[in-house]
């Protein structure tokens, strides 16, 4: 048995395979649900309603998709240029903490129209800086960035932990390690009252569109892809490799930093060390599911959020251990990866 690359993909295939993948994930999860002693079909129904069955669940799904889209974009942009940024988690936290710091210490009383853009810029910049360090190490010392970015995640989270334990600690939080809050004018407006859905979703989708345009149409997009696919040939063709990678790193780190900033400014209002349930890592999977296509990242982010929120809600309404939600997300991701593979390859004897 071997696999052969498909040069053309039929629409049927592209539509059918993800459906098969979801069905497979549901089937496996069904076994676990049955073992946990709950009626399986009802559980499936609850996953659906848990994700979209009410105004609450729909807005929650969209809220959760927001950071996933942003970190997914961060990974997609970097991976396309073969810059293996596994550090979105750290960049997320650094972006978040800088926003909290700048808003609470410096610009808190600025009006929203000025403050929000400033904060977003600050958060993006923080993420950039954290990715430029490993990039510099790679360009200067040939250090593999997979490991440095991974390690910097822990440094970043410890750094945040230290700040919210010391200088940035919120005195109103009775000693709990949490940062001073973003000022009210620094918070992103809600898209819907009585929900957590905030402007961040619109920003994320807009950025995905912009990025899609940049990657598919601009000189930079083509050059960064060339740099990723074959650096030596790219140099021969006059692609400024270092500059392109720096720019890619700025985009990727910036997006991850932005994800953190938007999460703070849109949802939580201040930073704790459990701000992210692994958004940085999930972003990588989201990007891969989307085949590194920015528009696909929006869909993959929504998909991942749907699976999680739906299964999480299901676990609560059916009294199944809530860990089933993560199991289900993991299963969907794995089966989806396989499905994406089979849209690109066919089996040959």
């Amino acid at each position: 048995m071997r696999f052969e690359r498909r040069e053309h993909r039929s629409v049927l295939l592209v539509v059918a395979t993800p459906l098969i993948a979801i069905a497979a994930a549901l089937a496996i999860a069904g076994i676990l649900i049955a073992i946990a002693g709950a009626p399986v079909l009802e559980a499936y129904w609850r996953i659906l309603t848990g994700a979209f069955g009410s105004r609450l669940s729909a807005t929650e799904t969209l809220t959760r998709a927001t950071p996933l889209i942003l970190t997914g974009l961060a990974a997609a942009v970097a991976f396309r240029a073969r810059l293996w940024n596994i550090g979105a988690e750290g960049q997320f936290y650094l972006g978040a903490i800088m926003v909290a710091a700048v808003s609470s210490q410096l610009v808190g009383n600025w009006p929203a129209v000025v403050q929000i853009p400033v904060l977003l810029a600050v958060g993006a910049m923080a993420g950039m800086v954290l990715l430029l360090i490993p990039l510099w190490l790679r360009l200067r010392f040939a250090v593999d960035e997979v490991v440095t970015t991974l390690l910097l995640n822990f440094v970043a989270v410890l750094f945040v932990s230290m700040l919210i334990d010391t200088v940035l600690k919120d005195p109103m939080a009775f000693g709990w390690p949490q940062s001073q809050p973003v000022s009210d004018d620094g918070m992103l407006p809600k898209l819907l009252e009585r929900s957590r859905l905030h402007l961040g979703l619109a920003i994320a989708i807009a950025l995905a569109l912009v990025l899609h345009f940049v990657q598919s149409r601009t000189v930079f997009g083509m050059q960064s892809r060339a740099a990723g696919l074959n650096a030596q040939a790219a140099i021969f063709a006059g692609v400024p490799l270092g500059r392109t990678l720096v720019f890619v790193a700025c985009l990727s780190g910036g997006l991850a930093g932005l994800a953190g900033s938007i999460e703070v400014m849109g949802v939580q209002g201040y930073v704790t060390t459990d701000l992210s349930p692994g958004y940085g890592y999930s972003g990588i999977v989201v990007a891969m599911l989307a085949n590194l296509n920015p528009i696909g990242v929006v869909l993959a982010g929504l998909f991942t959020a749907t699976m999680f929120v739906g299964a999480d809600g299901m676990s609560r309404s059916m009294g199944i251990p809530s860990y089933i939600a993560d199991v289900f997300v993991a299963l969907s991701l794995l089966t989806m990866l396989v499905a994406v593979f089979f849209t690109q390859y066919r089996i040959r004897r």
């Binding site: 010392f141 997979v146 932990s161 999977v285």
Partner: protein
């Protein structure tokens, strides 16, 4: 200053270093074996979690400690098989598959644990491995209590490190693994099936990761808690690079890392909260990055690491 010297001169510190290092040694060896064959295994964090859970659960249900250890290793092997199917047979991106395996293995571990042990309160305990004093050696002054009063898995981990070094550098199998990690096409041209080698290495490496997890619940502690692996798997991934893919150096790296942790815990008792503890915890990570910067140009990365091998594709 003298307090710091006291800490360094205490046998307890060095005994703790070995203890803390054990899961790191096992996990690092596992990750190293996978990478030597060209497969990055980011599933380690989840595999360790599952190993910790299943090892403990087996013993709790009456298996003896070594059986529990073995079952943890087997469970690791099963996840290794999953990772192999995804990355070796299908050639999917190794980062993503690994992260997927981690997410799946850890959440599945918690789920199984909750279904089978639905208790509240602190979870039940088992009787863990007890330290064994090696006759003769443990009576040596200072060195004895520091190094030769450990639980059996610690001795096993050290032996495994030496054994793996031997296998990789001194046996035909090791050469086949190295060749597969350097150039699978060349391995195939010499009649070695790189797919089989990769499967074997990933499965065996993942088994070691499962053992690393089991150490936490069968020796370092006596019950399982969700989230108790606490990023130790990621540290192993870093240690592999720090060790430049050599088992002997992996052993040293794990010991160094453990030293900082043990030292940090002891320093706190002297300095109190004067220095934020996070700074201590950062040291090993920062140091690893610095070490990488110093030796990256000399380090010989397995050339085919993270590159899928598909027979006959151009």
């Amino acid at each position: 200053m003298s307090e710091i010297f006291d800490i360094l001169a205490s046998a307890g510190l060095w005994a703790a270093v070995l203890r803390i290092a054990t899961p790191l040694i096992l996990g690092t060896l596992g990750a190293l074996l996978c990478e030597r064959a060209g497969v990055l295994n980011l599933g380690i964090e989840g595999i360790m979690t599952f190993g910790a859970m299943i090892g403990w659960l087996s013993v709790y249900n009456g298996a003896d400690l070594w059986t529990g250890f073995l079952i943890a290793a087997l469970s690791g092997a099963v996840f290794g098989l999953l990772h192999s199917v995804l990355t070796v047979t299908l050639g999917l991106s190794q980062h993503v598959s690994g992260l997927g395996v981690t997410l799946f293995a850890s959440s599945f571990a918690y789920f199984v644990f909750r279904i089978l042990v639905p208790v509240a309160g602190t979870p039940p305990t088992i009787e863990p491995f007890q330290p064994i004093a090696i006759p003769g050696l443990s009576d040596l002054p200072f060195v004895g209590p520091a190094l030769f009063v450990q639980t059996p898995p610690t001795y096993l981990a050290i032996l495994l490190a030496l054994g793996l070094a031997y296998v990789i550098f001194r046996t035909p199998l090791g050469l086949a693994i190295r060749m597969t990690g350097e150039n699978p096409h060349a391995a195939e041209a010499q009649g070695i099936n790189p797919m089989v080698v990769r499967y074997g290495a990933v499965i065996a490496g993942s088994a070691l990761m499962g053992m690393a997890g089991a150490f936490l619940t069968l020796s370092a502690f006596n019950s399982f808690f969700p989230t108790m692996v606490q990023g130790r798997g990621w540290i192993c991934i870093a240690l592999v690079v720090f060790a430049t893919w050599r088992p002997g150096r992996a052993l040293m790296g794990a010991l160094l890392f453990a030293f900082f942790d043990a030292f940090q815990l002891r320093l706190q008792t002297v300095l109190g909260g004067a220095v934020p503890y996070q700074l201590f915890l950062m040291i090993p990570y920062v140091l690893s990055i610095a070490a990488l910067a110093l030796m990256a140009r000399r380090a010989r990365v397995p050339q085919a690491l993270m590159q899928p091998y598909r027979r006959g594709e151009r």
